[in-house]
């Protein structure tokens, strides 16, 4: 069945329509009306998810122009990102129905959430360095509003302020890199740049790569550009924390990876060996993230630091792929991106439920909360152990594939990277398991309270999916594999 690639604009259109509808719906409505806004936002997320699923299954691919001018490309990578973003978005907006019901200003919340998701979906489809940047900024600007959502409190405001300044610096730096590329190559089209890229002399491509890595890497919270993340991710409303940690920073990472693709000469490996640099940064990122998470007493802050570590794992796979051309690295990283979205998204939602229940993020005061909220407690255990890479939760197989990439590459350095990955997995147990111990097993006194299904259902669904994908990984791996195909075409490999 040959379908024009133009239909691939559907998920993006649905999300943008959702922005308008939810804005109109939410204006002035509180209580019951607010619940309906949340449900309709979930419905739009679901429609976008379903359309992306349909397009993926039908194998719609190819280039097309959005609004007649913006070059886009439909393909496996775009669909994977769209499915993750809208899938998690669906869980988050459903969760927010009760969680956010009493908050003022919902006409900002749901439209910004949908807009941020649209930006992420756009990143997947963008086929041009500049439109890539525009979608990236769309995502970023929407997220500023969401982090500083609760303007009555000092903490979100301060965190939002830091986030804007840091992220703005990053965007500026990345834009400078893009300008440098455009200056030398005369085009911003990703496919053409691969051909033209040979014309960029190393003297120019080295600073350009440096600027792109720092600029987009800041958004992806690669160490040493990570300092804004713990504040922003822990101060935001929990649903937003789930989105930020689950998919936004990963979208930043994919933006980086897509933009770095232009420096790869088709059929060969990059002239400037930035893959090795990425792998080194990856080891630094995972180690620092895990060490910083060790002493956290604030549950959401701990999860935020662990996101930094997880970005390190994902970055390692891509780094190995850029440096050694190993396909398993791409597959592992993309699969881990999916798994991390489920696990960390779910973990933040569970943490939000605990916060809603007990009014605190302090791990000591949350002791035993998993017994009064058993579904969230058990799910949290699944997420935490999955994040540590314990089977049968799905995180282990993706980590294993990344490790396999190191051995596929062969040699002493890749082996070092694999050992660093494995050692970090053990290190991360030192905070995940005590957190599980504290929340699920320890004694604590919490009043009985009814937990609404709109909050429990998304958490339970993500936990279930984490186990199912761990035991039966063939289906998600097929989607991942077709996305890896697109990436390997950039590398010019098979």
């Amino acid at each position: 069945m040959a379908v024009a690639p133009e239909v691939a604009v559907l998920p993006l259109t649905v999300l943008l329509a959702g922005v308008v509808v939810s804005f109109l719906q939410a204006r002035g409505s509180r209580g019951r009306g607010a619940s309906w806004t949340g449900l309709s936002a979930s419905a739009f997320m679901f429609l976008a998810f379903a359309s992306a699923m349909g397009l993926q299954a039908a194998g719609v691919s190819g280039r097309f122009q959005l609004f007649g001018t913006v070059p886009m490309e439909a393909g496996g990578l775009a669909y994977l990102l769209a499915l993750i973003a809208t899938g998690l978005g669906m869980a988050v907006s459903l969760y927010s129905v009760t969680y956010m019901r009493e908050e003022p200003g919902l006409e900002r919340y749901y439209p910004l959430l949908l807009l941020m998701t649209a930006g992420i979906v756009g990143i997947g489809f963008a086929a041009d360095l500049f439109s890539l940047f525009v979608f990236f900024e769309l995502m970023a600007i929407a997220s500023y509003g969401l982090v500083a959502y609760d303007v009555r409190e000092w903490e979100p405001l301060e965190a939002g302020m830091k986030y804007v300044v840091m992220s703005g610096t990053g965007s500026l730096v990345a834009l400078l890199g893009i300008a440098l590329v455009y200056f030398f190559a005369g085009t911003t089209d990703l496919a053409q740049l691969q051909v033209e890229a040979v014309r960029i002399p190393p003297a120019a491509s080295v600073p350009a790569i440096g600027l792109l890595v720092a600029g987009f890497g800041l958004k992806a919270s690669i160490v040493p550009f990570h300092t804004w993340l713990p504040d922003a991710h822990s101060a935001a409303p929990s649903g937003i924390s789930a989105m930020l940690s689950g998919i936004v920073i990963e979208a930043g990472l994919l933006t980086l990876v897509k933009s770095l693709g232009i420096f790869v000469v088709p059929g060969g490996l990059p002239e400037v060996s930035f893959g090795f640099l990425l792998a080194l940064l990856a080891v630094l990122t995972m180690t620092a993230g895990n060490l910083l998470a060790l002493h956290q007493k604030d549950l959401k802050r701990m999860l935020a630091f662990s996101s930094i570590a997880q970005v390190g794992y994902i970055l390692l796979g891509f780094g190995l792929a850029f440096e050694y051309g190993v396909r398993s690295g791409v597959e592992g990283s993309l699969f881990h991106l999916l798994n991390h979205a489920m696990m960390k998204g779910g973990a933040f939602l569970a943490a939000g439920l605990f916060l809603w229940y007990a009014g605190t993020r302090d791990l000591d005061r949350l002791a035993g909360i998993g017994r009064v909220a058993p579904i969230a407690g058990a799910s949290f255990a699944v997420f935490a152990l999955g994040l540590a890479g314990v089977p049968p939760m799905s995180g282990f197989l993706s980590k294993l594939l990344i490790a396999k990439a190191g051995l596929d590459a062969g040699g002493a350095w890749p082996l070092f990277f694999v050992v660093a990955l494995a050692a970090n997995s053990v290190l991360s147990l030192a905070y995940y398991v005590p957190a599980v111990n504290r929340i699920v097993f320890a004694e604590g006194r919490h009043p009985a309270r009814r937990v609404p299904w709109t909050m429990q259902a998304p958490i339970a669904a993500l936990a279930l999916l984490t186990i199912v994908f761990g035991l039966l990984p063939d289906l998600p791996l097929q989607v991942v594999s077709s996305a890896a195909d697109a990436f390997m075409r950039i590398l010019g490999g098979a």
Binding site: K162, V165, M166, T169, G170, V173, V206, P207, I209, G210, L211, V213, A214, P224, F225, T227, P230, E271, V272, S273, F274, F276, L277, L280, A288, L291, L292, L294, H295, S328, L385, V390, P391, P392, F396, L397, L400, A403, K404, G406, L407, D408, V418, V419, A422, S425, V426, L427, A430, V433, N437, F441, A442, G470, L472, P473, D474, L477, Q478, S481
Partner: protein
């Protein structure tokens, strides 16, 4: 072959049970207990029927992950089927024993639904581990076993010590699991090897094979609690005694010995690998036995004794004596389950694990006393009990292959084993009672299990003939000869390998009864020996220092998280400069 259905049933019946039991538990406690027993029984029967299905070839049960070329393959040969049968039957006995033993826990507010679900999951994962040919499935089962042990060791979660012990067990064994992960990935990457049966030394580059061998070794050391990663097992005694029995006899520590036995034919070619097994095994055996002698805690004595017995088995695999190692594994599983469950009855009756708070129980608890005595006789290796046959067979094989030094270490261990076993028996059951209140023998289900295990400890050696024949028939790649009882008897009684250990064990009994009391006083006062043992032969102290060092560096790293925007933005710019410099270094 249609018998494979038993193997599949053996794996998935307990896993299903783990899901069903808590659901039934919502309705009724009694129905839940019956359901747990029923699933345990089905599992035990299925594992025994699986013994009929043994064959040399792997079977693909399910395509599983075609995109990675990984299937769910089972390999039901004697090695795996016996591990599964041990897990299934002893697991079932433990579930029955738990009916009476764990009742008090429910009254104290611990959820028995969780308990039974985890126990069944534990058993199912161990059976799956034994029967999997697919390395990925093996890895999943392996880690699930670790996860269950963590959750069950910290079952009494209100006790901070139990929670800490669970964490320690999980973390230490995970260090070993890195090895398994690296081995698995290395084999997959280098030769496309994704099954045990596909593991063939010929097709794999030597350095990759070495890496994999090291990984498997590390994994086995962690899981089977060998030196230097044995420190988690004694602490794991915070678990309910039933769980200790399960871990020591059926579901956890056997996995490491199984793994090295399973991979032996492919890795034997690496000269250092069998040597490493021999030395690690025999040193572990001795160190753990010495530790056991200084323990005042009954359960910790038994824990160290398991570590020591596992050392024997690992050394035997190193000597290429697969049959002896696995046969000893069977003996150990039976007599250790017996010892733990007898100890459980005693501990419940007396209310302490401290042997200095027991004494004189021989007349008050005759059943437990006799059961424990049979366990001791089997562990020490007194003729006609199962431990005698398997241990002598094992020692004989080590000497026959010309490994004199490890053999001598193991003979010395036999002396110490006899010493700590007699000491424990004497402290618990003889002398004057050192506790208040009355003690009686355990209620019926517990006693029934003790009787069954006592019988098994006295007779399981009769299985040697069929055991060795099935092994020889279904494991062509392994150095196993069929061995009749008479031939085994002749081999065992040959000078010096057979009679020396026996004489040593007898000598040891004399020394314990003659000089034991005086030595005991010194131990209680805290002699240098006792202090050395309590620091885990300095290893525990070392690991703690390492963990502290790590925690400190994490603490110091936090100071970089200043929250000052100016510094952070400056950091970004500095980062760019560093990146560009690194890239330029790469170009030039």
């Amino acid at each position: 072959m249609t018998y494979e259905v038993f193997a599949v049933l053996a794996i998935f019946a307990p896993l299903l049970g783990a899901g069903v039991v808590p659901l039934v538990g919502l309705a009724s406690r009694r129905a839940r207990d019956v359901t747990a027993i029923a699933f345990g029984l089905v599992t035990a029967v299925a594992t025994l029927l699986t013994l009929l299905a043994v064959g040399p070839d792997p079977v693909r049960v399910y395509a599983w992950i075609p995109i990675l070329g990984v299937g769910f393959d089972l390999r039901v040969d004697a090695l795996g089927a016996f591990i599964a049968a041990i897990a299934g039957t002893i697991g079932f006995l433990v579930v029955v024993y738990s009916l009476a033993y764990m009742r008090h826990a429910e009254e104290e507010g611990y959820s028995l639904s969780r308990y039974y679900a985890l126990v069944l999951l534990f058993i199912g994962a161990m059976i799956g581990l034994g029967l999997s040919d697919s390395l990925l499935a093996f890895y999943i089962f392996w880690e699930t076993v670790g996860l269950c042990s963590f959750a069950l060791i910290s079952f009494y979660h209100r006790d901070a010590k139990a929670r800490r012990a669970g964490l320690k067990a999980f973390a230490v064994t995970r260090v070993g699991d890195i090895g398994l992960l690296v081995a698995l990935v290395a084999l997959w990457s280098a030769g496309g090897v994704v099954t045990f049966s596909g593991l063939d030394a010929a097709g794999i580059p030597r350095d990759i094979l070495g890496l994999a061998a090291f990984g498997f070794l590390l994994a086995a050391i962690g899981k089977s609690a060998q030196v230097p990663l044995h420190v988690w097992l004694p602490d794991a005694m915070e678990a309910p005694t039933t769980i200790s029995a399960l871990i020591h006899a059926a579901t956890m520590v056997n996995a490491g010995v199984y793994l090295v036995a399973r991979t032996f034919p492919a890795l034997e070619a690496l000269g250092w690998w069998p040597q490493a097994l021999l030395w690690i095994g025999s040193i572990t055996a001795l160190v753990a036995a010495l530790s056991a002698y200084a323990e005042p805690d009954l359960k910790r004595v038994l824990a160290y004794s398991t570590v020591s017995q596992l050392g024997y088995m690992v050394a035997a695999v190193g000597a290429g004596a697969i049959l002896a190692s696995q046969f000893h594994l069977l003996s150990q599983a039976i007599f250790k389950a017996l010892l733990f469950l007898a100890a459980g009855a005693v501990i419940q009756a007396v209310g302490t694990r401290d042997m200095y708070g027991m004494g004189g129980l021989r007349t008050k608890m005759p059943l437990a006393s006799n059961a424990f005595l049979v366990g001791v006789l089997a562990m020490v290796g007194i003729p006609l009990f199962n431990g005698f046959w398997s241990k002598e067979l094992l020692l004989d094989a080590v000497l026959e292959h010309g490994f004199l030094a490890p053999f001598l270490l193991l003979v010395v261990t036999t002396f110490v084993t006899a010493a700590y076993s007699w000491r424990a028996y004497w402290l618990v059951f003889h002398g004057t009672p050192r506790f208040a209140g009355a003690a009686r023998d355990a209620p019926r289900p517990m006693s029934a299990v003790l009787v069954i295990l006592t019988g098994a400890a006295a007779t399981s050696w009769l299985l040697l003939g069929p055991y060795s024949e099935t092994m020889a028939a279904t494991m062509p790649a392994y150095p196993v000869e069929p061995l009749g009882l008479i031939a085994a008897g002749v081999a065992i009684l040959r000078w010096p390998s057979g009679l020396v250990p026996l004489a040593v064990a007898g000598l040891s009994a004399y020394f314990v009864f003659r000089y034991g009391p005086r030595f005991e006083r010194r131990l209680r006062e805290g002699s240098a020996y006792a202090r050395l043992v309590r620091s885990g032969f300095l290893l525990d102290a070392m690991y703690n220092a390492l963990a502290r060092r790590l925690a400190d560096s994490a603490q110091r790293l936090r100071s970089t998280q200043t929250g000052d925007l100016n510094i952070n933005v400056a950091g970004v710019l500095g980062g760019i400069v560093v990146i560009v410099v690194v890239l330029l270094l790469g170009v030039v």
